[in-house]
């Protein structure tokens, strides 16, 4: 008689390492050894879906199966942390609004065009936040504005497109912002208003994929926050090269609160704003280069 076995296979340290290395080489995400339990839990549903008996078989599947590319995406999907919320890191956003937006307005006033990129946008909160800030600044009302959100995870992108959120995503959103930019969507959830959505578009992109990045237009500002924390130095270097390449000369790169470019930042200059530290792709030679303040 068939058994309906309800137990789960364990992941050996060796299986863990092989899977980890495989994932790392694909997308730069480094899973630490003390995260074996987490990896086991997150990948177990994949075994279940594929009907595989253990993680060794799963590794072989990722190596050899005809469906291996799709499966690797599914594995990365399961392993990445997508934690994000609206108006995350308010002091940085304030510096962005008060100090960078005026610069960008002036710089691009002739073209009246602005391009922002939320690289590693997760379920879209960051990209929409940026669009909301641009709207509220009233500086770009008749401009051609695009905020691009990209992520390696297709699942979060579909959530981003749906633009429907619950309490956790709104934990740093004030009542007036909620009122202004969201509408009720039932079930205790809200939806981002269409005026904001019309400035935002989403796409699938692996930040380590040089060729794929050619599809990303040149950006005035890149937000790449809380993404590279999962990468090691080598992967960070690669991503930074790609990001730099996608920025217009003089364009800005904003990282997460706990991230910096120490030892990596040769291609960027540090700019001290009153309220934050940001990085900037140097202007083309011949134009004024400006640097950070010594302290």
């Amino acid at each position: 008689m068939p058994r309906f076995d309800d137990s789960r296979p364990e992941m050996s340290l060796e299986e863990f390492r092989l899977l980890r290395d495989h994932v790392y080489s694909h997308c730069g995400i480094l899973v630490h050894e003390d995260m074996k339990f987490v990896m086991e839990r997150r990948l177990w549903p994949r075994l279940e879906a594929l009907g595989l008996p253990d993680f060794g078989a799963y590794h072989r599947y990722l190596r050899y199966d005809a469906q291996r590319h799709a499966e690797l995406e599914a594995a990365v999907e399961a392993l990445t942390t997508h934690e994000t919320y609206f108006f995350r890191e308010p002091s940085q956003l304030k510096a962005f609004c008060d100090e960078l937006l005026p610069v960008l307005e002036k710089r691009n006033s002739r073209l009246k065009r602005l391009r922002l990129w939320s690289a590693g946008c997760s379920s879209g909160e960051e990209a929409y936040t940026l669009a909301m800030l641009l709207k509220d600044s009233r500086r770009f009302d008749d401009w051609d504005v695009e905020v691009y959100g990209t992520d390696i995870s297709r699942r979060v992108l579909s959530m981003a497109r749906r633009a429907e959120y619950g309490a956790s995503a709104l934990r740093a959103t004030s009542a007036d912002l909620l009122e202004r930019h969201f509408q009720p969507a039932g079930n205790n959830r809200v939806r981002v208003r269409d005026e904001v959505r019309s400035w935002v578009s989403f796409g699938h992109h692996n930040l380590l994929d040089e060729t794929g990045s050619q599809l990303v237009p040149r950006m005035d500002v890149v937000f790449c926050r809380n993404v590279m924390i999962y990468f090691d130095q080598a992967a960070r270097r690669r991503v930074l090269r790609i990001v730099r390449d996608r920025l217009v000369p003089g364009g800005y790169l904003l990282l997460g609160h706990s991230e910096n470019l120490l030892n990596l930042g040769a291609d960027f200059e540090l700019v001290h704003l009153q309220g934050d530290l940001v990085y900037r792709r140097p202007e083309l030679p011949g134009l004024t280069t400006t640097g950070g303040e010594g302290r």
Binding site: E14, F37, V38, P45, Y64, M159, G292, E293, R295
Partner: protein, 658 residues
């Protein structure tokens, strides 16, 4: 004009240093000048470049001279930073500096030695504990905590009775870093001193004994928040150290302590938001002990920190069905990591009343969450869970989970499950229903399966063939045989798999054409099926495949031959020479218990890949004789990879007992 501040001169200096060739003559002095720059950015880039300079002993000595420049705080700190990055080359000069007449210099030396963390600095540092200057002694004891080793631990313990509380404190912190708790009575005594209390708790957490837990629990009741958090941190550390079997004991003590506190739950909510991960982990342990369902949401939110996932799941499980209901009611409010953890916990907490809530969750949850919810539905033992599960058989990513869940559910609701599946098959809802029907229905489902095996759609034929094999061997073989000649790849593959499972005297002959099938997936399935069915008559074809450039086929062939008991020396050697490391490992596990396998293992101890070396070490440990001890020891000495080292040292251990 650009309104941002502009410092072109600084930028120029920064770039100049960045582009400086460290090997150029005079580079050292240029960089030392950079250490004195007014801009920290420039100083930093100079320090970075210094770390990379060749001939670092000279560099170290030059930097030590900078340390002596009074009034140049920025330069001295940058020099210290650079020295800490130099590694072994800085060791000698820094040890010499420990004897400098100026206490300030000696303190610098101790600090930097601590940052270097080289065990070779241990003895000189222990000696430096005799320094007449208190600040130096404090710096030295902190450094010992970083450098580690037996002498350090003993020296630090000695300091615990020092008259200077600052020294006692740094010694305690040092021992915490080394994870070397002093004897319990000593720690308990130090807890009485408010200045030492927090560090004493840290060390107390390293003692996996109930007496320690009891004392930690007194801390939980403290009116001072920082003391409570220190105690929770200690609890978090302790629970990670006690053996799982003794965890109940710890929790009982915690529970008793928390029950005496009227606002325990509130305090835990506060602690669950604390920055420090060990504090949060202690709070989770406490929440589990308290079993207060109202904590379910903040507990689930702790899963935002990946490292706490295990503890979160454990705690949620302990909050009982009431906690489960609280989670279900608020799923939409949780962050996504919390939601995933909650769903997982729910799978264990469910009762028949949860079906509606679980189904609501299915409406919008992400795919991997849904797999967990599906599993939970199976465990509700409720007939109401049948229809949604049958519906889910349609989703390719969930069909497997749903089939299993229906199987579990059939334990208590067989008739309802059967009827729903038959109905789904009749209206051709999804082929996954066929597998489920066969599994739950058994022999009475056979006529329906025969019928389906003649269906016009290959999907149904394939499903029927595989399912029939699960119910009845004879019928299964008959349908599989026909399927092997089917025009559709999908059906041939299903026939091959079924034949593999069913075996029988003719299996080898019947599987032969499949080994040469035009489709790669059928070939691969056939190799596996030959191994599974025990068809030794196909061995020679498998042997040829061992050398196939496609790693997938070669691995499968080696494994199949091993199952047939026919992985002889030739096969193993061929496989070990394959360029794909997975094939090499397959050879190692195939040969595991044979003499050739051991030979192979010895030869592969020097393979460039760690996983192959680890696999070789395992074989050696399993099957090698004592005469292999030497070679294993030598390999262990040369092994740089931690996991391969572990496996090798296990092997050495086992071999030396033979």
């Amino acid at each position: 004009m650009n309104p941002l501040p502009e410092f072109p001169a600084e930028e120029a200096r920064y770039r100049a240093l960045q582009e400086l060739d460290p090997r150029a003559a005079g580079a050292l002095e240029v960089l030392v000048t950079g250490l004195h720059d007014e801009s920290w950015r420039v100083r930093h880039v100079a320090a970075e470049a210094l770390k990379r300079l060749p001939s670092s002993r000279e560099v170290a000595e030059r930097l030590i001279r900078v340390l002596g420049e009074r009034g140049e705080t920025g330069a001295r700190n940058a020099a210290a930073e650079a020295l800490a990055g130099l590694g072994g080359a800085a060791l000698g000069p820094l040890v010499t500096l420990l004897g400098h007449p100026d206490p300030d210099q000696r303190k610098f030396a101790a600090d930097i030695l601590g940052q270097l963390g080289l065990r070779a600095a241990e003895l000189p540092l222990v000696q430096a504990l005799e320094d007449p200057d208190l600040n130096v002694r404090v710096a030295v004891s902190e450094a010992l905590g970083r450098v580690g080793g037996e002498h350090s631990a003993r020296a630090l313990e000695g300091l615990l009775t020092d008259a200077e509380s600052l020294l006692r404190l740094s010694a305690l912190e040092g021992l915490a870093l080394l994870r070397r708790p002093p004897p319990l009575p000593v720690v308990l005594a130090m807890l009485e001193d408010t200045r030492l209390q927090r560090s004493a708790f840290r060390v107390l957490g390293l003692v996996p004994e109930v007496v320690a837990t009891e004392r930690i629990c007194q801390g939980l009741a403290s009116p001072v928040r920082s003391v409570r958090e220190a105690a929770l941190g200690a609890l978090g550390t302790q629970v990670a150290l006690v053996e799982p079997a003794r965890r109940g004991e710890v929790e009982a003590v915690v529970r008793a302590a928390l029950r005496r506190l009227p606002d325990a739950a509130q305090r835990l909510v506060q602690a669950l938001e604390c920055e420090d991960v060990t504090v949060r982990s202690g709070a989770l342990v406490s929440a589990a002990a308290l079993g207060e369902a109202s904590l379910a949401l903040p507990v689930a939110e702790a899963a935002r920190e990946d490292r706490l996932l295990r503890e979160v799941l454990n705690t949620l499980g302990r909050l009982g069905p009431e906690g489960g209901r609280a989670l279900l009611a608020h799923m939409a409010d949780l962050s996504s990591p919390a939601r995933a953890a909650a769903a997982e916990a729910l799978a264990d907490l469910v009762d028949p009343g949860s079906v509606t809530a679980l189904c609501a969750l299915l409406e919008w949850a992400e795919d991997d969450l849904r797999a967990v919810v599906v599993r939970a539905l199976g465990r509700t033992r409720s007939p109401e869970a049948v229809p949604p599960l049958v519906d889910l058989l349609v989703a390719p990513s969930l069909a497997g989970a749903a089939t299993r869940a229906l199987g579990v559910l059939a334990g208590s609701n067989r008739t309802a499950v059967l009827e729903a599946l038959e109905e789904a098959v009749t209206r051709r809802a999804t082929s996954a229903a066929v597998a489920a029907l066969a599994r739950v229905g058994g022999a009475p489902a056979l006529p329906a399966l025969r019928q389906l095996a003649r269906d016009a759609e290959p999907t149904w034929r394939a499903a029927a063939v595989e399912a029939a094999g699960e119910v009845d061997g004879a019928v299964g073989r008959e349908l599989a045989r026909a399927a092997l000649a089917d025009e559709a790849v999908q059906v041939r593959a299903a026939g091959v798999r079924a034949m593999g499972r069913l075996g029988g005297p003719e299996a080898g002959a019947l599987l032969r054409p499949a080994l040469h099938d035009e489709d790669a997936s059928v070939r691969l399935a056939a190799v596996e099926a030959v191994g599974e069915s025990g068809a030794t008559d196909r061995a020679s074809e498998l042997e040829a495949l061992v050398r196939h450039p496609d790693g997938a086929l070669a691995v499968a062939a080696v494994r199949a031959l091993a199952r047939l008991g026919m992985a002889g020396p030739g096969v193993l050697m061929d496989a070990a020479a394959h360029p794909d490391a997975e094939v090499v490992k397959a050879a190692l596990s195939a040969g595991a218990l044979s003499a050739v396998g051991v030979e192979l293992a010895v030869a592969l101890l020097g393979h460039p890949r760690w996983d192959v070396r680890a696999a070789a070490a395992r074989v050696l440990g399993d099957a090698g004789g004592p005469e292999r001890l030497d070679v294993a020891r030598r390999a262990l000495e040369a092994e740089a990879d931690a996991l391969a080292r572990q496996t090798l040292s296990d092997a050495v251990e086992r071999l030396s007992r033979r």
